[in-house]
């Protein structure tokens, strides 16, 4: 039982970080890489790329979170 004094991780070995969580870094990388989307073309239905691309990432990030949720909750049931 490690608490109250030991210097180390909280949650110990039971906290097994799922590798699938790494895909949650993708939204950060995509959004931090501003030059990749700072453009007008290609437009979508008249909307410049800058705007529709970032709105698209709202959906992609939600999808990635949903994938992690599905994977983790399936393995929790197993």
């Amino acid at each position: 039982m490690s608490h109250g004094g030991s210097v180390g991780p909280v949650g110990g070995a039971r906290h097994s970080a799922h590798w699938i969580r790494l895909i949650l870094l993708l939204p950060f990388l995509a959004m931090a890489w501003v030059p990749s989307y700072n453009a007008v073309e290609p437009r979508l239905a008249g909307v410049p790329f800058f705007y529709w691309y970032q709105i698209l990432w709202i959906l992609l990030a939600a999808l990635l979170v949903a994938i992690v949720y599905r994977v983790e909750h399936r393995s929790a049931e197993a």
Binding site: H3, V10, R14, M31, A32, F50, A62
Partner: protein
């Protein structure tokens, strides 16, 4: 005076007032206990939490200010979208752990967690005070949202007659928060969201139809506003500014007391994880809403004589109300304005409850009256929620609006300084509480200094690094200083002694 819109507005406002009082009966609990009054008794499932957090995080001020920023500054104002893209991975990974440990130990506030996790009441106090100070101007800003729509209804903007509608709205808010606690904003959030969705989708469909499609709207926008300026040599310009603003704001968001209150009121950690996947529906709406700023620009509402007075009084914040008045019939303008005003009540109620919880648990009970009973504790919290709201009201009525905006900007820089204690405290026992406290001091001082060099007008600090200028969000830079100080001192302090941690490893899983 726009009577049709005003009547619709008042009717909808009356409806939510009734709901606010009725909420005391909903999912009944003993409202004489702090976790019942201030956290809804942890009874909120996936669906209610979705509405509650949606109403909590996407505030009325957001609805007015984000399109206003796009209207004024163009592409830079769109940073709210990448910001809301990255908040949900953070919510998914970090905050279910906080919920678990809070549930295990009966923590009502984040400072309760700090107190238990580090056994250091001074660090807990620092975190509580940061939350209180950062939230106060945020509540005041919600009032700015209400003021703008009341002005758009045609009420005079000055004198007692101008302030009266705002005072009435606040008395109502204070009364139902006092009686019903967190249940009131949770129930009202449902109505508010339906109205907001209705308004945004109507605008996103109606405006392009009137103006000839999105292509025609964007064709009217000057090219310089459509994208960020390409940085000149020697600086990363707005590229780093935009990215750090989005990511820094995202790390700050869930540290605000009202976010934590929304998270802790849910009925399980799974509710939070599921919400991290479904809350982005609000971000989608925010993205569309941001585009209303361009629509207002394309329609040229700033040049129309009938709105000149509104723009003079409220600046770019009047862009969306003017757009709504210009394209919708009066009755629908009433619906839209009610959506904004009710959208201000929900977060204002949650913020005042969250600050009341902090004050009561972590200042009053911890330092002033440790012997108080549970009923006394809930009573003090109810009174504290009133004091907080009266304070915010005085702020808006007697001080220039600019102060609230500047203080809220500083609030973002301050609240992020609690990130090392709260977020890393959930994962590692490496950090020593006194080191974290000194890191917090370093972060607050350096962040405030950076904002001061910008005359408190902006938060993008031009950092000079080996001959390259990297403009970035002051909150992010200052929290890195905080983290370095906390880590370095922890190495030293851990050699001397360690904190008294009452949380166990299995509390977090």
């Amino acid at each position: 005076m726009n009577w049709t819109a005003t009547i619709v507005f008042v009717a909808l406002f009356g409806l939510v007032t009734a709901l606010g009082f009725f909420a005391a009966q909903w999912r009944r609990g003993d409202l004489g206990l702090l976790h019942e009054w201030g956290l809804g008794g942890h009874r909120f499932g996936t669906f209610v939490t979705w509405f509650l957090l949606g109403g909590d995080l996407y505030t009325a001020y957001t609805f007015v200010a984000v399109p206003a920023l796009i209207y004024g500054a163009g592409a830079l104002g769109f940073f709210a979208v990448p910001y809301t893209v990255v908040i949900y991975p953070i919510l998914y990974v970090v905050f279910p752990r906080l919920w678990l440990v809070a549930h295990r130990h009966g923590y009502v506030t984040v400072s309760d967690f700090i107190r238990g996790r580090f056994g250091n009441r001074w660090l807990a106090l620092a975190v509580a005070v940061t939350g209180l100070v950062a939230t106060m101007p945020y509540i005041a800003l919600q009032l700015v949202g209400i003021t703008v729509v009341i002005g758009a209804l045609g009420f005079p903007g000055t004198g007692l007659a101008g302030d009266l509608p705002l005072i009435i709205a606040f008395v109502i808010l204070a009364a139902f928060t006092y009686t019903s606690g967190l249940r009131a904003p949770a129930l009202i959030a449902v109505v508010k969201d339906l109205l907001i969705y209705l308004t945004v989708f109507a605008a996103v469909i109606a405006v392009p139809m009137q103006l000839g499609g999105f292509g025609a709207i964007f064709a009217k926008i000057p090219a310089a506003k459509l994208t960020l300026p390409v940085p000149p040599p020697g600086t990363m310009g707005l590229y780093s500014g935009y990215a750090t603003l989005a990511i820094g704001s995202a790390f700050a968001l869930f540290l605000y007391p009202h976010s934590i209150t929304g998270i802790l009121s849910s009925s399980s950690a799974g509710v939070i994880r599921r919400n991290a996947a479904i809350l982005p529906a609000y971000s989608l709406m925010l993205g569309l809403l941001a585009l209303l700023g361009f629509m207002a620009l394309a329609l040229g509402v700033g040049q129309l004589a009938e709105y000149a007075d509104g723009f003079k009084r409220y600046g770019p914040n009047f862009a969306v109300p003017a757009l709504i008045l210009a394209i919708f019939p009066s009755w629908f303008a009433g619906v839209a304005f009610a959506a904004v005003a009710i959208g201000a009540l929900v977060p204002a109620a949650i913020m005042s409850i969250a600050t009341a919880n902090l004050f009561t648990r972590n200042i009053w009970r911890e330092f002033l009256n440790p012997a108080c009973t549970d009923a006394e504790e809930a009573g003090i919290a109810k009174i504290a929620s009133l004091v907080v709201k009266v304070g915010a009201l005085f702020f808006i009525i007697f001080l220039p609006q600019q102060y609230a905006i500047q203080l809220q900007l500083l609030g973002g820089i301050w609240i992020i300084q609690t990130a090392p204690s709260v977020m890393l405290g959930l994962y590692t026992r490496f950090f020593n509480s006194w080191a974290l406290l000194l890191g917090w001091v370093a972060g607050i001082v350096s962040g405030t200094w950076m904002a001061a060099t910008l005359a408190f007008r902006g938060a993008i600090f031009p950092l000079h690094l080996f001959g390259l200028t990297v403009p970035g969000y002051a909150a992010l830079y200052s929290v890195l200083i905080n983290l370095l100080v906390a880590a370095a001192l922890s190495l030293a302090f851990n050699a001397v002694g360690s904190d008294r941690d009452v949380t166990l490893n299995e509390d977090y899983a």
